[in-house]
């Protein structure tokens, strides 16, 4: 152990490592300026009292944790945290299950599997605002295609207020977000699947494993790193979704689809309570930061195992 340490910290090793840092430096400076600055600014903002009346004052008073206390006492904050969790977990589970199913399907490499898989990605490429508007029209109670089809099939007698009823609005928004997320899941999982060696399956077959056993004992364990990436990245992307909800429901009806992101926007740019908006954004950031840290830790463990 002693010897290894000595080697590691020998002069050559350190200078090698320093060279490495030098290469990373430009990117690091860029990141600090364009990513670090807003974060720090936002952090400071959340401890000051900046709203309409204090905005133009040269000195903005520090108020300690007051903004955090105020925000957490606001019932909308609790609703938005709950909604964000429901939205994220709901979206991830739907898009993961369907994404995995599709990845397995296209992994069968039948005729046309390639072009169809290519087409599937379209929904991921459409700008979020366009998707949101599209679904808004499709969910409409007067002439929306979803209600029309359901009524023609006599499944419902009167149109369902998909996004105007506070009971169904969250579900409808989750469904839309899943539609966008499915190709992302599918692509990452397909890559994972193609990395599994066929010899494993052959060996499994020889040992008499049936389809389910092969899936649970070979496919899933081998996919672990891909699944991990998909779930964590999916979590991060979904947790901060803003445009979709902003366009489709703007958080309504009655806060039923208010997410932390849309709530932060509303506080900052509709009510001009910049500090409170920053506070909500920071809470959102803190949660995602922890998730990211966890993800990196898991990846590291995986690499060690690998």
């Amino acid at each position: 152990m002693e010897i290894i340490l000595k080697n590691k910290y020998s002069r050559e090793f350190i200078s090698e490592e320093r060279k490495g840092y030098l290469f990373v430096l430009p990117a690091l400076i860029f990141m600090l300026a364009f990513v670090g600055y807003p974060i720090i600014y936002n952090f400071i903002l959340s401890f000051r009292d900046v709203n309409v009346t204090t905005f133009s004052n040269p000195i903005k008073p520090f108020v300690g944790l007051k903004n955090y206390i105020d925000v957490f006492q606001d019932p909308t904050m609790m609703i938005s945290i709950k909604n964000t969790l429901v939205f994220t977990l709901g979206s991830i589970s739907i898009q993961f299950v369907i994404g995995l199913g599709l990845a397995l399907l296209f992994n069968l490499k039948f005729k046309l599997s390639e072009p169809i898989r290519g087409l599937m990605v379209v929904s991921y490429l459409i700008p979020m605002t366009v998707t949101a508007l599209l679904f808004k029209f499709m969910y409409s109670t007067s002439g929306g295609i979803i209600n029309e089809v359901l009524m023609q099939c006599h499944l419902i007698s009167e149109p369902i207020g998909w996004i105007i009823d506070s009971k169904t609005s969250m579900f409808s928004v989750i469904l839309t977000n899943s539609w966008v997320g499915i190709p992302f899941n599918m692509l990452l999982l397909t890559t994972g699947l193609s990395n599994i060696s066929d010899t494993l399956y052959e060996a499994g077959k020889v040992d008499g494993a049936n389809v389910f056993q092969r899936f649970f004992k070979i496919t899933l364990p081998s996919l672990r790193p891909a699944i991990l990436s998909v779930l964590v990245l999916g979590f991060i992307y979904t947790f901060k979704v803003f445009d979709l909800v902003f366009v489709m429901t703007n958080g309504g009806p009655v806060n039923s689809t208010e997410l932390m992101s849309s709530f932060a926007y509303k506080l900052s740019f509709t009510q001009f309570s910049f500090s409170k908006g920053a506070t909500v954004a920071n809470v959102l950031f803190a949660i995602l930061f922890c998730v990211s840290l966890g993800y990196l830790k898991l990846i590291k463990e995986d690499e060690v195992i690998g």
Partner: protein, 417 residues
């Protein structure tokens, strides 16, 4: 070494997460200060958020006329979508990427003035001969703490549109009181036709639509939790419970109301004069009229319309010249007609036969004397949010009207204290 690793891990995590903040960046590169015409003309950038074709044309028309009338200032009109405009105004304050002149919805004026966006034009106003010609509502929406920060572009208010054919078929007269409205609405509700439709989304538009009912009950804008305030919310909620008003009102915009009206799905709607041309175009054969919104204790409406705001520290004098140009009788009458607005000045509105003698516009003009400005208060957006939330909570049965109103009152009191 361990520390560096931890630091790097943290950095990576930060980068992964950080895009939540990046979306707020400004993409607008247009700074009015940087633009100066080669011919030594002062370039004046004007921002507005009117998305209607006719309104956009009216704005450009206004700029054209002004540019031709003199050779010192060149006005350029730019359309910025409303949500973007609000955002750009606040971001612009920090980054100084602002126009010279902006149009804002009148209840937002106080907030922006308090944030230091607009120049104090009290001196200019006090020496301006047209100063006393404005209706009290519109001009008070331009003031904050006794100082002038803007001047009205034009005004509008809400009144009750009614379908004449449905009224004669049901044998009823346009209602003038709450009690009459309730029975009339009930009588007119048949099949997929609702007696009344209002617009109650959870935003400023919802508050704008709710205020006439609140004010009519005798309560002031900050008294939703008073017995009178509660009764107004109770009244509207009862209309929904009676089936005379659709539950969907919580998602309808004022433009949606027009669609409900012309497709005979609503016999009465509360809407503003800007919608008149659209109704005429969508349903040329529809017979309809306009009356004042029925009253509980007093007649009430609330004031809509935009104000010009001169951006502080830019070409303030040139902007003022342009504003003065728009205040001339013929010019104001012309663009107000295009906008479907009423001129905010007594001398101009009341000498315009197209308004005073028109059976529809005259109602809106009459209603303007009852039209209260929203606020003005720097924190109006928060007050407004409390009210539109209360309306949604009550309409969807999430809370009783009393509870919703009282909860809103608590929020409003915190803002006002």
């Amino acid at each position: 070494m361990k520390k560096t690793k931890t630091l790097l891990t943290c950095l990576t995590a930060v980068v992964m997460t950080a895009s939540i903040f990046v979306g707020c960046g400004s993409s607008n590169t247009n700074t009015s200060k940087a633009k100066t015409d080669a011919s030594a003309k002062t370039a004046l950038t004007v921002w507005h958020y009117f998305d209607g074709q006719q309104q956009q044309k009216a704005m450009e028309n206004l700029a054209d006329k002004f540019n031709k009338s003199q050779d010192k200032i060149e006005v350029e009109v730019e359309f910025v979508p409303r949500a973007e405009l609000t955002k750009q105004f606040t971001i612009g304050l920090v980054a100084d990427k602002l126009p010279d002149l902006g149009l804002v919805d009148n209840p937002d004026m106080a907030s922006f003035a308090a944030m230091g966006l607009f120049a104090d034009i009290s001196d200019k106003m006090n020496s301006y001969e047209g100063k006393d010609q404005f209706y009290p509502g519109p001009i008070s929406s331009c003031k904050l703490d006794g100082k002038y920060y803007g001047i009205p572009l034009g005004s509008n208010d809400l009144a009750l549109f009614y379908n004449k054919d449905m009224f004669s078929a049901a044998g009823v007269e346009p209602p003038t009181t709450y009690a009459e409205l309730k029975t009339t609405a009930k009588k007119l509700t048949k099949g997929d036709t609702y007696g009344l439709a209002i617009s109650a989304p959870k935003n400023e538009e919802g508050t704008f639509q709710y205020l006439p009912w609140l004010l009519s009950s005798g309560a002031k804008f900050n008294e939703i939790g008073s017995p009178a305030g509660i009764s107004s919310l109770q009244y509207l909620t009862d209309l929904i419970k009676d089936g005379s008003m659709s539950k969907e009102v919580i998602n309808w915009t004022q433009n949606d109301l027009e669609k409900q009206f012309v497709t005979n799905k609503a016999a009465m709607i509360t809407d503003g004069p800007w919608i008149i041309d659209t109704i005429k175009k969508d349903a040329p054969n529809l017979k309809w009229g306009v009356v004042k919104i029925p009253k509980d204790k007093v007649f009430a409406s609330d004031l809509g319309g935009e104000n010009w705001g001169v951006i502080k520290g830019h070409h303030e004098d040139a902007a003022w010249e342009f504003i003065k140009f728009t205040q001339q009788k013929d010019i104001m009458n012309e663009y107000c007609a295009d906008f479907g607005y009423i001129p905010s000045r007594k001398d101009i509105a009341e000498s315009n036969d197209k308004i005073t003698k028109d059976p529809i516009m005259s109602v809106f003009l009459d209603e303007l004397q009852y039209a209260m400005p929203r606020g003005p208060h720097a924190k109006w957006p928060e007050i407004s949010d409390a009210m539109s939330t209360a309306m949604q909570e009550s309409f969807t049965n999430a809370k009783t009207p009393e509870q919703a109103a009282k909860d809103a009152q608590v929020k409003i009191d915190t803002v006002l204290k």
